[in-house]
């Protein structure tokens, strides 16, 4: 009895959490006539895929998703590169000021985007990086490095010190120890940090909005959020585009939830 109640509760939770996206998915399969009818139907009466065709042919959604992928790949790569080196340095080499760096990174990760956005905009305009992917990639690299350093330094601490010491006895140089022994051991942590950074890139809004303001350069989140403002842009297309932009995240989450949770708890809770 208690068990049944418990499972019912879990099912109720799942419905509450997944329902909004299921609803936009169902909407995306409806015909225009069915969408603008009252009361709304649950299951589409004549499911159609026209909305998917239209959203790719008549809006820039394909471009937006491509733009986001390019920016996510490059900025995630740069962040993980910088943060692995820094995380290793902070966690395993007891140099003076290591903990000050860690506090610096923590403090920077709390900065409200609004306080950096205007200056960044003016400076990027001066060096002609507004409406350039490179501009946003560099900004994201700085923006998300702090949280990645935090996650990775926690991860590096969990690798036993003996590994490194025995390598040292064998006469390996510091750089070789880092790249040949520690980085391979830290790969799961790096993957978790990379996933989290990529999700953050997919999420980020304000800086993307101001740095890539040209329509064809927009990222998916910004581009779709601006659809309802464009004249008479219909809801069947907005819901379709939103569903398509959310889909990759569902896959990432489904396959990697364990890594993501591990990384998150390392970054946010443990210290």
């Amino acid at each position: 009895m208690k068990k049944t109640l418990y499972y019912l509760m879990i099912i109720a939770l799942m419905i509450i959490f997944f329902f909004p996206v299921v609803w936009i998915f169902l909407t995306s399969l409806k015909t225009t006539g069915e969408i603008y009818a009252w009361p709304p139907t649950f299951i589409p009466e004549n499911p159609v895929i026209d909305n998917y065709r239209t959203v790719f042919l008549e809006s820039n959604l394909g471009l937006y998703i491509g733009n986001t992928l390019i920016i996510a790949v490059f900025s995630t790569f740069l962040v993980i590169l910088l943060a692995s080196l820094a995380g290793y340095g902070i966690a395993r080499i007891q140099f003076k000021g290591a903990s000050i760096f860690l506090v610096f990174f923590l403090a920077m990760s709390m900065f409200p985007q609004l306080s950096v956005a205007p200056s960044l905009f003016l400076w990027l305009r001066q060096i002609k990086l507004i409406n350039k992917f490179l501009g946003l990639i560099l900004v994201y690299t700085g923006l998300f490095t702090p949280i990645a350093v935090w996650i990775l330094s926690t991860y590096f601490k969990t690798i036993p010190m003996d590994v490194e010491e025995s390598a040292k006895i064998d006469g390996c140089s510091s750089l070789r120890i880092l790249f040949q022994i520690l980085i391979p051991l830290a790969l799961p942590g790096m993957a978790a940090a990379a996933l989290i950074v990529a999700i953050f890139v997919w999420n980020e809004f304000l800086l993307s909005l101001i740095i890539l303001s040209k329509d064809t350069l927009r990222t998916a989140t910004v581009g779709i959020a601006l659809y309802p403002g464009e004249y008479a842009f219909p809801w069947e297309l907005i819901t379709t585009a939103t569903f398509l932009a959310v889909l990759p995240l569902v896959f990432v989450l489904f396959f990697f939830q364990k890594n993501i949770i591990g990384g998150l708890t390392a970054g946010a809770v443990k210290s």
Partner: protein, 294 residues
Amino acid sequence: MNEIARRKMFGLFLVLPAFLFVFLVLFLPAANTIIKSFTEFSPMNLQQNDFVGLKNYQKIFGNEEFMDSFFNTLHFAGVSVFFELILGLVLALILNKALAFRGVIRTAILFPWVLPTALNAIIWRWLFNTDFGFFNSFMKSFGLISRNINWLGEVSLAMNSMIWVAVWKTSSFIALILLTGLQSINDELYEAASIDGASGFQKIKSITLPLLIPSILLALLFRSMDALRSFELPFALTQGGPGGATQTLSLFGYRQFFQFLKFDQGAAVSVVQFLFILVLGLIYIRVLKGERDT
């Protein structure tokens, strides 16, 4: 140089690239914003740069729209974080007992968190749609409302609707933080309490909650900081409307900067917001340090 000193130099050398990037992209721009808030400055005239003291602050505090968004932000952050914490706690207590379907359950609770805030806002805008939205039809079929309601368009309702959207998205993340805290509580404590004849509720009250306080505090600070800088939620859900009812500090500041090009006053707005977050951030670092020392 001896070997230890060389190794320490190597450590510093590894941290420097990350430090430089973060310094250039976050620290310098923020410092520049703070300086500009004390000057008269416009992006149209980069040469003009006169120190004017607190004039920009006087101007924004004399601006009714600013004061409204100031209180909106506090209202939004206070109420949404309160409900998120309560729901998060309930969720965490339920999930802590979950033995089967762990993967699916994890995916479910993480899902609202990975959903981009702006897209979540768009989804809810459709669910809340007055004429064709699911929300109205749902409420009507249970007889809770008799006519279709404009959830996002009425001054008295828009803020609550926005809070609801935030609570839906973030409670599960709080649950996740609390869950880690719950799992670190030693089971023997509960067993001992059971032997002494404690009820389930008593156990929650005198074991779970006191031991969970550090995690609760962390979740609280984490989310408050986030809620205080809320930007894309009102931007994509209501554009701050109706009549400024859901305009937050971030949205107001953004408009000063990029719509009205009042760079100096926008800078003052973001410094005010920054101070709020700074205070919370300092408490946060304190708590983390306390955690580490014990």
